[in-house]
Symmetry: C2
Subunit: 150 residues, 2 copies
DNA sequence: TTTTAATTGATAATAATTACAAAAAATTAT
DNA sequence: ATAATTTTTTGTAATTATTATCAATTAAAA
């Protein structure tokens, strides 16, 4: 292990812990594990995927806890629940609005930097007031396009 | 009934029937009923809602047929499947890209004319090629805002 | 008509998510 | 520290949207 790997992840864990406290949430081991897994993670995992990844290292973890944690954090604005995939929610630790691309072949979700200007949120749209928004793009990702010649 | 109401809906039915034929699909009574219900409908109903609305006038209709029909038509590009609502798909007979607003209080979905320019589809986004896209907005709709003083 | 291929309808199967209550852990008060 | 209170976790049951299956029906073609 590199000389300071432990310190780095220790620092990260502290930061997550503080964030939870700031939100008035208890920094439980489960929440730390879930947030640590998500931190900087651009794979947009589902609840089940988070659960499966943490289960080996954290055998007592329950799927219900994963659902509860991500719901709590989404409500607190610390992560995004994506509705891009019709069969399951995906989670993105980056709460900033940005585009997402769902590959209709492999099912992966990618972050996309949008070329049109970001909307402010909250945003007035006629009589409507949007608190959040998302831009979802659909197609076949470059990897699948190459493989499948689609 | 106004003098030509029957003719108007008769015309509409003809147009729908022709559209189905053009797509190489059989113009069955079920499909006509579903498309007639959706035509010009801005309520963005779910499959269940379509089914419930048509059941009284069409008792033999099956929910599976509703799912099948909307899937077929979505694939043909004649309507949009919306993933804005995390619990169920909603359907929009307008296949043109436009924004949608989900009221997090009453659950209604509204069409929103976006103020930023529409993306062309297909659209190149770096190495990604988007075949379709959607812009989903979330908040409390004007009606609920008034009532609930939110 | 008769043939055919597509579609429908009923229901079973699947799968994501939520609900619930008891147990455990964390926090606060004594 | 100990007890009391509150929050969180867990395991599981319940719920619900959607898909799969397949025999029966029906629209369109021959």
């Amino acid at each position: 292990m590199a000389a300071d790997t432990k310190n780095v992840s220790e620092k990260k864990r502290m930061a997550i812990s503080e964030k939870l406290n700031r939100l008035g949430l208890k920094a439980t081991p489960q929440r730390l594990a879930i947030l640590e897994l998500l931190d900087g993670n651009t794979s947009h995992p589902s609840a089940e995927e988070i659960y499966q990844r943490l289960k080996p290292v954290y055998p007592s973890l329950s799927l219900a806890t994963v659902y509860g944690t991500v719901e709590t954090l989404a409500k607190a604005g610390e992560l995004q629940e994506l509705n891009i995939d019709p069969v399951r929610k995906r989670f993105d630790p980056n709460p900033q609005p940005h585009g997402h691309f769902l590959c209709q072949d492999c099912g992966k979700v990618y972050d996309i930097e949008l070329d049109f200007p970001k909307l402010d949120v909250p945003q007035e749209l006629g009589e409507f007031l949007a608190e959040s928004y998302s831009v979802n793009l659909y197609g076949i990702c470059p990897g699948c396009r190459k493989k499948g010649r689609k």
